[in-house]
Amino acid sequence: MTIRELLDRLSGNRNTSANSACSRLRVVLAHDRSDLSPALLDQMRLEIMEVVSKYLELDYIGSELTLETEERSTALVANLPIRCVRKLSR
């Protein structure tokens, strides 16, 4: 990090066009690399939630399924906030 970048960060000035390019690239490359479209990802999210909902009550609005990349590998990351644990009736 340079002093300029530190100053930018401290002043909350992160809205540069280079920063937007970086964050947009990260998202689009994650989709490119995995060959998954946002629509397909959302469908997966709903199906995963359906399965998990058998056991837990989930917060549908706060949940997300995203692709994250580090180096040249991509991971599927699910964030599913739990409202409460379902009492399974056996």
Binding site: M1, T2, I3, R4, L6, L7, D8, T16, S17, A18, N19, A21, C22, R24, L25, R26, V28, L29, D32, R33, E71, R72
Partner: protein
């Protein structure tokens, strides 16, 4: 691919101690042909017998940038179809005698030229050269695949622009799955230091962070490149007066294995503004 001879040229390259490097980018207009011409000249100046192969059969321009367009008699097309010997098609550079051009055939060649033909061509060339630089066409279709088929190393050319970086990532994936390319290095071309400084252009660090491919070199945007193209005299031919010419020389030396550090490119201003800029660009972490 069903061909049993997928690596036939690789054996020939190894046996003849020749390195075949493809320059590719996916996106057009990032400077592949200019780089091929200049790195060819720069390697030749280092006393390496170098052949630049124009694999862009649809839109060939390597001959123009080298100023050799009027000297072409035969092309790769005649070599492959048996119409001439290899030496008859090769065009020697006017000033740099270590450099030869293997011209592209006419655009109709696109229809029948295959990856197997490219491997045959490279096998023939490997006997006479230390380095073969293949100028790939833009895109990721057959022309690109043919160009890559002849190489064992790749230089991925990228501009610090969002579309170029995205395309480069796609090409990197294709190169990795292609099978015969064992080294991929990144060359960031046409960087504008002042825009990077104002955080209006992706920095080298940003590009490396996103693509995660080892960096071979950085070339600044340089008006001299256009003038050199007008004249058909690659910048690397002369003394390294311009930033780009200096970078070409360094990259060629890195290609041949010398350990030359990659300079930090920041805009150089004079006076107070310059000193302030330098202070602000001081690395603290």
């Amino acid at each position: 691919m069903s061909s049993p001879n997928l690596g036939s040229h690789i054996d020939a390259l190894k046996a003849n101690n020749c390195r075949s490097i493809v320059l590719c980018s996916g996106k057009g207009g990032v400077g592949k042909t200019t780089l091929t011409a200049n790195l060819g000249v720069a390697l030749a100046k280092l006393n390496k017998k170098t052949c630049v192969v124009d694999a862009d059969y649809g839109l060939r321009n390597l001959d123009l940038l080298l100023g050799l367009e009027s000297r072409i008699v035969f092309t790769a097309q005649e070599v492959i179809s048996g119409g001439c010997r290899l030496e008859q098609a090769l065009v020697r550079h006017k000033h740099e005698t270590n450099l030869m051009l293997m011209p592209a055939g006419n655009p109709r060649m696109l229809d029948w030229f295959s990856s197997e033909h490219m491997r045959t061509l490279i096998t023939l060339l490997s006997e006479s050269f230390d380095f073969i630089l293949i100028d790939a066409p833009a895109g990721v279709e057959d022309g690109f695949k043919n160009a890559v088929a002849g190489a064992s190393e790749a230089i991925l050319v990228v501009n610090p622009e969002i579309s170029s970086v995205r395309d480069a990532d796609r090409v990197a994936g294709l190169l990795a799955s292609q099978g015969t390319i064992d080294t991929i290095q990144l060359l960031v071309n046409r960087v504008r230091p002042r825009m990077v400084e104002k955080l209006d252009m992706l920095s080298i660090e940003d590009v490396l962070d996103i693509l995660a491919i080892p960096l071979l070199g950085v070339v600044q945007e340089d008006e001299q490149v256009i003038i050199a193209a007008n004249l058909g005299e690659p910048l690397a031919l002369g003394k390294p007066k311009s930033p780009a010419a200096f970078a070409y020389g360094n990259i060629a030396r890195r290609i041949q294995g010398e350990d030359i550090p990659i300079p930090d490119i920041n805009a150089k201003h004079g006076g107070f503004v310059g000193r302030l800029g330098e202070f602000l660009s001081t690395k603290i972490i």
